[in-house]
Every structure is written in C-alpha cells, then in structure tokens.
Symmetry: C2
Subunit: 132 residues, 2 copies
DNA sequence: CTTTGGTATGTTATAACATAACATTAAATA
DNA sequence: TATTTAATGTTATGTTATAACATACCAAAG
C-alpha cells in the first residue's frame, strides 16, 4: 500500500459502490455491481473491504453480514459506534458520541474486560417509516 | 408446541448441548454433537434454536454466528442484553442491567427509533486471561 | 539494467452458515 | 375415525467467507 489515504484500484471501486447510497450491501451484492468493472471473485471484494475497514472508511454490520460506508470524518477516534438500522427502509444511522463511548467503557470496567472490538446494532423502525 | 415451558425432543437435545458449558457453539458444531442422537441435517438444529431463542432460553451472538444458553432467569423482561466475549478463552459474560436498558432507550430516543431487536457485543480479553 | 522483495491482484476450490420446498410422522381434537 | 395441527425428516440449494496457489506490478538495491 502506498499510504493510508490513497486507495488501490479495487479499493476505490468498492468504496465507490458503498459511497453511492447510505445502505448496507453484502459482499456479493458489491461483487455483482462490479462485474462490469472486471471483478470475478468474492476475494477481490473481501480483500478491499478488509483494507477499507482497517482505514475506518467502511463498517461491517455484524447482524446483517453486510458493509456500509462510514458517514463520519472518522469513527476511529471515538470509543465506539452504534448502528441504528431500519428494517423497512434499510437506512442506517451511525451514532458515535460520548454516550456510546461512556457506556462501553463502563461496561468494560464492570466486567473487567479489555475490549478490542465492539458491535452495537439496533433493528426496528425509523421515524420516517413510522410516520408513513 | 405444548406450552412455553416444555421442550420438544429436539429442542431439549439442543438445549442440553448448549447448557453443558458457557461457551458459544455454531449450529454445525451442535449438529455434530447430536449426530449420535440421530440428527442428520442443519434444519433440525436451526428449528430448535429458533424456538429456544423465542423462549429466551438461548441467545444468538451475531458477531460469531453462534449460539449460547441464557444464563439469567430471563433476559426478556429487560431492555436488552450485552455480551462480553473473550477472544482467548471464549468465555461469555452476559450483562442485562439498568445501564444497558438505559443506554438503549436513550439511543432509541435520540435517533427517534423503535427498536425491536438489539445486539451489543464486545470482543477482547477477559480479566482471567489478562492475568494469566 | 536486472534482481529482488513487497504489494496488489487474479483464479479455483472449498469451507462455513442458513433456508426453501416438500414428505412423513405423531399427537391433539372434533 | 376423520381432521387438522405441530413436530420432524430429507434433499437440495442459497448465501457468506476463506484457503491455497498463481500472476502482475513496481520500486529500491546491487
Ligand atoms: Zn463511521
Ligand atoms: Zn425506515
Ligand atoms: Zn440471557
Ligand atoms: Zn478469557
């Protein structure tokens, strides 16, 4: 890799697909969207995703086995991110503020635990869908 | 189903496997442990798991694609459960107290969201493994 | 320049996780 | 007994993820 701010060709293609809309996509959905650009195999997607996640540019949603572009400048500096996922419209809200990091650090302290990776995901109905 | 407190034969077998130790098991690990009891296909496991999860007797760990017996009387009455999972010894701590439910309800309020399912999972190193 | 070593990419095969669709059995109830 | 409901069995398939190996590319060292 040249540096953390430049993307390789495949990484940029995957980033572009995820950047187009604020909705989660599975690796295989990404693969299908990129067949026209020469992608043939899952690994091309998974390798790019691994890098992008490492850079903090993409998040993995564990409860969906799917991926989404980060919509913050950087989630890396915070203590964690919570994802609020509407089951109806698929829209995802990304929350990373003090309430999240305080909750996580409190939980770690209470359980005498050193957390290296966290996942907070809520499923339900968003405000827009509730009104509609 | 007879009622919520009785288990079918397959449900009891799956519950027994999960009840033996406080560690997560994948559906296919459970299947393999139950081949001697006549299990042949994944669906036998998945169907039992679905019921047991519905009863609150088993939890699904989204970040592991695995399942674990609930170690509380009932998590159902609370606002949510957090799982603290050691990457080294595989031990899982289950936390469902006010701090969890307050965090979740606060997050839902802040995002104007009606949550129907939540998942909080921390990965890292537990106290015992840290000392060792 | 050319060798060497690192990084990215390509390809095939397979592992791991999950469900659809349909058949059969067993138990409840009318 | 006839009807129907819940549980189970079976086969096939769909979906997600990684292992293992091969190739291409490019930059620095010799
Ligand atoms: Zn983010
Ligand atoms: Zn919505
Ligand atoms: Zn529980
Ligand atoms: Zn441990």
């Amino acid at each position: 890799m040249t540096n953390n701010f430049e993307l390789s060709n495949n990484e940029r293609l995957v980033m572009d697909v995820l950047g187009r809309e604020n909705s989660p996509k599975s690796a295989y959905m990404i693969l299908d969207e990129l067949r026209g650009s020469g992608f043939r195999a899952p690994l091309q997607v998974y390798r790019a995703l691994e890098k992008l996640i490492g850079m903090g540019r993409v998040h993995r949603l564990e409860s969906l086995n799917a991926f989404i572009a980060c919509n913050h400048i950087s989630c890396e500096k915070t203590g964690g991110t919570a994802f609020v996922i509407c089951n109806r419209c698929e829209h995802v809200q990304e929350v990373c503020d003090d309430s999240v990091s305080l909750f996580l650090s409190g939980l770690a302290k209470k359980t005498k635990f050193k957390a290296s990776k966290t996942s907070i995901e809520l499923h339900g109905i968003c405000d827009a869908c509730e009104d509609a």
